[in-house]
């Protein structure tokens, strides 16, 4: 099982503080035993490769999980980034391949490629990157890219070959992951409703707030993600322009009623208030661990957490995963 945390976004942190914050959360994540840390990419954020370089400088073994949307750079340049980081830092990165993103970001860049076609493009794009990183001479006359006898220098040492994740829960996203041999990552439904993909393990993106007492966990959760009407309005506007499969699926769900102590841990409050895109699991360490073990039981081997609020939060999450592993092994 691999656990990734998520890097803070430059839009959410004071300008002069951002680099320090990235370094701090990288160190927390490494100390908590994370395999890596997701670095977001969209029109409103700092460049993910430069942030990834900072992650590498700030840690000893934590791997940046770089979000890569084909509209931002040629696949050759993306491969060059991977091999350059490997040479400069002697470290491995992971690739989080995207086909979607904020629709208005793509339109602003002149890209109105339809949903399923974007997955075909990401597949072609990733095949070129991986071929170059394997040291192959790559020739592709594709629908989206043309390269001829292309080679990558400096060569990437095989032990630093990147792991590849593919974001997306639509049939097109799953097909792209299958074609690439990548791990598909989705924003999950509750564990009891999740089904394992036919022929591979998968990853889930989920936030966790766990405490000894469920009431305390919900107090922390509601304090961190309070009801926010402007956030709810933004969410509804964003859903209108989104063509994302998971946006539609998650938005169709309604909040669970009940008191804090009897609430189901699966919570979409932060998503519905436009604070983050992933569902949260909230409750006691044991109860949340049961949910995590439920995902593991249907094949989830990769977990991508939300941006950690504090080092203490990662300690609680570490306890949840220890319990989940024990539960899954029993």
């Amino acid at each position: 099982m691999k656990v990734f945390s998520t890097c803070p976004q430059s839009k959410d942190v004071e300008r002069g503080e951002y680099a320090r914050r990235v370094a701090e959360i990288s160190r927390w994540s490494e100390k908590a035993g994370c395999e890596g840390i997701l670095v977001y990419s969209d029109n409103g954020l700092t460049d993910p490769w430069l942030v990834s370089s900072l992650v590498l400088e700030s840690s000893e073994r934590l791997a940046p999980l770089v979000a890569i949307q084909p509209v931002y750079m040629h696949p050759y340049t993306a491969a060059k980034m991977v091999t350059s980081l490997a040479l400069l830092h002697g470290r491995r990165v992971w690739l989080n391949m995207l086909a979607g993103g904020f629709k208005n970001d793509l339109i602003a860049l002149g890209d109105e490629t339809p949903h399923d076609e974007r997955y075909e493009r990401t597949t072609e794009y990733t095949q070129i990157i991986l071929g170059l990183l394997r040291g192959e001479t790559v020739t592709v006359e594709g629908r989206y890219y043309n390269v001829h006898n292309l080679r990558l220098t400096p060569e990437l040492p095989p032990e630093l070959f990147p792991g590849v994740l593919m974001s997306g829960s639509s049939p097109a996203g799953l097909q792209a992951a299958r074609t690439l041999g990548a791990t598909p990552v989705k924003y999950p439904k509750p564990p009891g409703e999740e089904e394992s993909p036919e022929d591979s393990d998968f990853g889930v993106r989920v936030g966790i707030i766990a405490r000894d007492d469920a009431g305390e966990a919900w107090r922390v959760a509601l304090e961190r993600f309070p009801e926010d009407r402007e956030g709810q309005i933004t969410h509804k506007m964003a859903m209108k322009v989104s063509d994302s499969h998971w946006h539609e699926q998650l938005s169709a769900r309604v909040g669970e009623p009940g008191s804090e102590s009897e609430r189901h841990p699966y919570w979409l409050g932060p998503f519905q208030n436009y604070k983050t895109f992933c569902p949260y699991l909230v409750g006691t360490h044991e109860r949340v661990a049961t949910e995590i073990a439920g995902y593991m039981g249907v094949g989830a081997e990769t977990f991508i957490l939300d941006i950690p609020a504090s080092e203490e939060e990662l300690d609680h999450i570490g306890r949840v995963f220890r319990l989940a592993r024990e539960s899954a092994a029993a």
């Binding site: 009407r229 402007e230 709810q232 309005i233 933004t234 509804k236 506007m237 859903m239 209108k240």
Partner: protein
Amino acid sequence: LTEQLEERITALIRDALEVEVPARDVDLIETGLIDSLSLVSLIAEIEADIGVELPLDDFDIDAFRSVERMAEFVAEAQR
């Protein structure tokens, strides 16, 4: 009722967004006077001022293009 709403919405746009509305039927989004971020703030201001939660589940940007359209949408929500 709709005329009163138009006046209140025009005042809210002036006070909250510091934008002077040229005319009640001017497309404020097309002319760039309001962007998506300021529209979110404006909708929240309208709800707080009028005391109604607008039905936004099937959000339609066209209902917020002009003061005239906003007033019609709010009036409908109040019924």
